[in-house]
Amino acid sequence: MRLEKCWFCSSTIYPGHGMQFVRNDAKIFRFCRSKCHKNFKMKRNPRKVKWTKAYRRLHGKDMTQDSTFEFERKRNRPERYDRNVTENTLKAIKKIDKVRVDREARHHALRRKGKKAKEQKEAAKELEQSIHMVKAPAALQQEPSLTLPKIKVSVSHQQAEENRPMEE
């Protein structure tokens, strides 16, 4: 039993799933599901289709070079069955997966870095440029600080006075 990779989306194909297409030049295309197969029949290039691994690797959205990928290289020599080797391999697979997932998470976090600072800078600039949409320029001159004035709501007899600044 061998876990193959889908030619279009690069996900693993487990036994019992998917379709194989054999071209006359003996090249075998394996697909994980009919979505990938139909895209292939439409002659779409996986490097241009946004949700495939090929696109993501090409455009730097996922990590491309890592030592954990070396473990998944295709080996064509069959290994003699050894119980200890099998046990160790199974344990190692779990660990390598964890390491790989951590590294990918770090890669994604690195991609997202700098967004907060950028957003804050943009917000400050917008506040500076378009404050006139929120406050009247006359009111700005009365109160040079950029925050809107706090209006104290006190009871009854002062209500007539406080209505006037609100109408401005």
């Binding site: 019992g16 998917g18 379709m19 194989q20 297409f21 054999v22 071209r23 006359n24 075998i28 139909k38």
Partner: protein, 169 residues
């Protein structure tokens, strides 16, 4: 509005617009989608079926025949599939070969455009329909086989063809 849509449906083909019929889109929108759907249908989604009487197949050995037309699929009510034997008539042959045009021969289907399920649950399909000519005992007439062959032939006891093949899919 609904009457207009229904008349448009009947003119193009009701089966295709089964899903669109209920939408209350403008007529312009529906006609654009009709165009797109017909283009996509012509492009890719051909449903491949069995190899039956009058099916043309390519011959992929060096027995001398080039094209062969199936006249009977042995085994199978609807037709032959990957790995089955058929009786065929030679339609086109090379001038000096073991078979001539008009001969009735047996053949084993080695490539079929219709998908065949494998015992592990996946499916396999090839690009074209191809056949290898055999005699009544099941031994190939030619001495070479071109192109990939499936290993379904092993179960059907066509081991000789597998040994001659250049690539087993």
């Amino acid at each position: 509005m609904n009457a207009g849509l229904i008349s448009k449906c009947s003119s193009v083909g009701r089966s295709m617009l089964g899903g669109l019929g209920n939408n209350s889109q403008g007529l312009l929108g529906t006609s654009h989608e009709i165009m797109r759907m017909t283009c996509n249908k012509f492009l890719s989604q051909q449903h491949r079926t069995f190899i039956q009487m009058r099916t043309n197949l390519k011959v992929v050995d060096n027995s001398g025949a080039k094209r062969v037309m199936c006249i009977q699929a042995l085994k199978g009510k609807k037709g032959a599939r990957l790995g089955d034997t058929i009786i065929a008539s030679v339609k086109e042959a090379q001038p000096r070969g073991k078979v001539k045009k008009g001969d009735v021969v047996y053949g084993v289907v080695v490539r079929a455009a219709m998908q065949r399920g494998r015992c592990d649950g996946s499916e396999i399909k090839f690009d074209d329909n191809a056949v290898v000519l055999v005699n009544k005992q099941g031994e190939p007439i030619g001495t070479r086989v071109f192109g990939p062959v499936p290993h379904e032939l092993r179960k059907k006891k066509h081991v000789k063809i597998l040994t001659l093949a250049e690539h087993i899919a």
